[in-house]
């Protein structure tokens, strides 16, 4: 097991390098570049352009730019934003708590709701409950986040005036837990409603498969209560695919929700990435891309390891 993990981690190194080259190339291939903002400024001269390109290191050949970025990245010197001039690490550090707060809540809410619903729809397959829940879940699953978010804003924010239209807290007011929670409801609902569907569907399918197994009959024959049969024998086995999905969701805790954060004006990682992309702020983009790529690799490994723990029949070689 330990050797397996070490080997997987070593395999990840070339993979991450390839990803970082690809990310670098995509970021640089964007048309425009960080100096595009100066177009339209009648005072901005060609000399100004050349000077700024030099100051930001944009006049270097691309391979050199990549190597110097990579070497300082490894030394945890992630450079400075071209637009805010702040250290990239500090910018990420500034936004990360907000995203963890949002996505962590989503994570908990989704699991707390998806597991019982997934189990119930499987146990009561083809009941009215199953039909209603499955129908509702498919509706949300196929709803684009940006549309759902806007709809919630319009209904609960603009029409009913129950909840704020966006932001993480009331601007200019002192800290207030109730106020914070109020601001959390709509963005969490937007992401959770869309995300939940997948989890419920996986668990339901996997539960149905498990419930049909012979050992379930055996468990019942031993005289175990139905509750015990479902929760201890069926759910534990049926949870394996769900664990994979949850583990693969983990990087989202860091990356944030691009569209939702944008709609709700949430000062998190997703919005940081969006803003950096629109401004061609290369150091920020590369920093976020590198971290999220690493997290996805780690999350995959974590999923595989958890698998073995849940199902000892799975062997690593």
């Amino acid at each position: 097991m330990g050797r397996y993990i070490v080997r997987r981690l070593l395999q990840a190194v070339p993979l991450l390098l390839v990803i970082s080259v690809a990310a670098f190339a995509i970021v640089k291939a964007q048309p425009g570049g960080p100096l595009a903002q100066y177009e339209g400024n009648p005072d901005f001269t060609e000399a100004d352009r050349l000077r700024l390109e030099h100051a930001f290191g944009l006049d270097q050949p691309l391979p050199l730019q990549y190597i110097s970025w990579l070497t300082s990245f490894i030394r945890l010197d992630w450079g400075y934003s071209f637009s805010s001039h702040q250290p990239v690490l500090a910018m990420i550090g500034d936004r990360l708590p907000n995203t963890l707060y949002l996505m962590g809540t989503v994570f908990v809410v989704v699991i707390l709701i998806a597991i019982p619903i997934g189990v119930l729809t499987a146990v009561k397959q083809y009941s009215w409950f199953d039909h209603i829940v499955t129908g509702t879940i498919f509706t949300f699953l196929s709803t684009p986040t940006f549309w759902l978010g806007l709809l919630l804003i319009i209904v609960f924010g603009l029409q009913l005036r129950w909840l704020p239209l966006g932001g993480i807290q009331t601007v200019g007011a002192p800290f207030d837990l109730g106020d914070r929670l109020k601001h959390l409801i709509l963005p969490v609902a937007t992401i959770a409603l869309v995300q939940m569907g997948g989890h419920v569907r996986y668990l339901r399918a996997s539960m149905l498969e498990t419930i049909g197994q012979d050992y379930m009959r055996t468990a019942r024959a031993k005289g175990l209560t139905e509750r015990n049969v479902i929760l201890r024998h069926a759910l534990k086995n049926a949870a394996i695919p769900l664990v994979t999905i949850i583990a693969l969701d983990m990087p989202e805790l860091f990356v944030g929700a691009l569209v939702t954060e944008q709609i709700f004006g949430w000062p998190g990682m997703g919005r940081l990435f969006w803003d950096a992309a629109t401004r061609s702020d290369y150091p920020v983009l590369q920093g976020i891309l590198a971290v999220s790529a690493s997290l996805i690799v780690i999350a995959n490994l974590l999923a595989d390891v958890t698998y073995g723990w849940l199902d000892p029949r799975i062997r690593y070689s």
């Binding site: 000399a47 001039h85 936004r95 549309w147 200019g172 919005r271």
Partner: protein
């Protein structure tokens, strides 16, 4: 300007559909609402929604409109501009000019003497001195990350005879000198810093204005509080606090204004104005701006690094260019697509002391047809004209994802087709189309376009804008600088522009520019579509707003007050 294509579009759709009228349409485009004699209430907080966030707040390091909007109540300069385009002193005692002896011409050089008002303090209590002027110049010249050195690079040296006097030795006749120092930097705070962009100054700049910036929470808000050391204190400012709230789009800003979460918002599109007009308790401020949307016609061959002396097979004929103008219904575009909040354009300089407002010929498709007939462009069976085997077929390029521009294109393509000119839309992302460099393949720079459409905003001194029409400023492969995208060449215009650039006499300059602009319009290479207004909105309780063509609406924040 970042465009949030699909998102913005979706919000616009849903928001417009659902923003129910909440009262009688009682508000109209009011400008000087504060003129009514009401007792002014002091104190309170105004929250202003901005849908673009300044990335940092250091005046030397940014180029965003919204940066100036946020810091102009904090960071001040020597002089500023009134709405009718006159210079007024801010920190200085007067505007130096030749008549009052503040400007001395020495051959092709000049000396400008600025006097600071006595007793002005930075918000930290330190005195403002002439050394700060010199430091500002030095920083702009030595820091590699500043936005543009234009103007500062014309200064040879600065003498400081005393604490309030600075003598600037310019190595040329630099006409826009009054606004050269529009942001003074604090020497005492910054002089020991190796890199100002790495200090707290770019987050919370120190200034002399009515407000000081106390907090900058990225992605959330920027807080301004009353500056107790302001020279107008304790009379002004009236408000205790102004908070700029960062919101993701103008649609969200409008929704928050309607919901009462903010007291004002920056920059509405024309299409949003009906929503404000029908919401009780809100007012619009529509101020004509210097921004002019235009269509340029490439007179040289449409190819990369075009030869400025080549001739475009279709647009090389002035009859075609005239016909395109005659078949452009400017007023209809303004009324239908811009909700009457703009004006048909006449020249690139629509405001200020050099404004040129002689209108171009009006909409007359019959005249377009007869001009083309007379020039030998004959309609084919499909209704499209041709001459000597050349089909009157053109491409039309603007920025992708811009709803307003796309609608304008649809109208014009139909209008032009009706007179026998086929136009195909070939839009490009703004990052390419407006890149402003040959390396980034800006088609205007390369000359690889037929018709383009975009806007530009001249400064109060129109000289850099006028240089766009000088033959010396045609971009070529050898020298890509210059913005003469139509490849317009006219010796009389060149002479007039050069003459205007070598004198400080405003009347003479205005006449010279008018000569050049008349020559430009007589060549029919540019259709001035419309002059765009700056539109901002507020709740009626927020009083004291005044329009200013040259400065965004926050220019007089010290006079804002909140009605209880």
């Amino acid at each position: 300007m970042p465009r949030r294509f699909t998102l913005a579009f979706a919000i616009a759709l849903v928001a417009t559909a659902c923003a129910a009228p909440q009262g009688t349409p009682s508000t109209t485009a009011s400008t000087a609402a504060s003129a009514t004699a009401q007792p002014i209430t002091r104190g309170g907080t105004a929250i202003v929604a901005i849908w673009q966030e300044p990335t940092q707040l250091g005046a030397p390091y940014g180029n965003q409109t919204v940066l100036g909007l946020v810091i102009q109540g904090t960071v001040e300069g020597l002089a500023d501009t009134t709405t009718d385009g006159k210079y007024v002193p801010t920190l200085a005692t007067r505007i130096p000019d030749v008549a009052n002896g503040g400007v001395v011409i020495k051959g092709d050089k000049m000396d400008v003497t600025w006097q600071l008002q006595k007793g002005i303090k930075w918000s930290d209590g330190d005195p403002l001195t002439s050394a700060d002027i010199k430091y500002t110049w030095e920083l702009w010249l030595k820091d590699p990350k500043v936005n543009t050195r234009t103007g500062f690079d014309q200064i040879e040296s600065i003498d400081l005879p005393d604490d309030v006097t600075a003598v600037l030795h310019y190595k040329s006749i630099y006409a826009p000198y009054p606004l050269n120092f529009s942001s003074i930097l604090p020497k005492h705070l910054l002089e020991k810093e190796a890199d100002v962009t790495k200090t707290d100054y770019v987050r919370r700049p120190l200034g002399t204005g009515p407000f000081k910036i106390t907090e900058f929470k990225t992605g959330e808000s920027i807080t301004l509080e009353k500056n107790p050391n302001y020279r107008g204190a304790p009379e002004k400012p009236y408000l205790d606090k102004i908070i700029f709230k960062s919101v993701p789009s103008s649609q969200v800003a409008l929704a928050q204004l309607q919901a009462g979460e903010v007291s004002a918002m920056w920059n509405l599109t024309e299409a949003q104005t009906p929503d404000v007009e029908k919401t009780a308790g809100l007012s619009l401020q529509v101020v004509p701006g210097p921004t002019v949307e235009r269509i340029e016609m490439n007179t040289a061959a449409n190819k990369e690094f075009t030869d400025p002396n080549s001739v475009h097979p279709v647009l090389g004929d002035i009859a075609v260019r005239k016909a395109l103008l005659y078949a452009t219904p400017k007023q209809q575009l303004v009324d239908k697509l811009l909700f009457g909040k703009a004006k048909p354009g006449a020249s690139p300089v629509s405001q200020g002391w050099a404004a040129y407002r002689e209108p171009q010929e009006g909409y007359d498709p019959a005249k377009a047809n007869s001009a083309l007939d007379a020039a030998g462009w004959v309609k084919g069976s499909d209704g499209i004209r041709s001459k000597g085997g050349v089909r009157a077929s053109l491409t039309y390029t603007t920025t992708t994802g811009d709803q307003l521009r796309e609608r304008v294109q649809q109208v014009l393509v139909d209008e032009w087709k009706a007179v026998g000119i086929e136009v195909k839309i070939q839009n490009q992302p703004s990052a390419v189309f407006l890149a402003g460099s040959c390396a980034a393949k800006d088609p205007r720079k390369l000359g690889a376009y037929d018709l383009d459409m975009y806007a530009s905003t001249p400064s109060i001194d129109p000289h850099t804008t006028m240089l766009r029409y000088h033959s010396r400023r045609i971009p070529t492969q050898a020298d890509c600088a210059g913005e003469n995208y139509t490849r317009f060449k006219n010796p009389a215009a060149d002479t007039a522009i050069d003459a205007a650039g070598s004198t400080l006499d405003l009347e003479k300059r205005k006449t010279s520019y008018a000569t050049a602009l008349k020559a430009l319009n007589d060549a029919y290479v540019i259709i001035w579509l419309y002059d765009r207004a700056n539109i901002d909105a507020r709740v009626n309780a927020l009083q004291g707003w005044e329009p200013n063509v040259w400065r965004r609406f926050t220019w007089n924040m010290e006079s804002w007050w909140m009605k209880k």
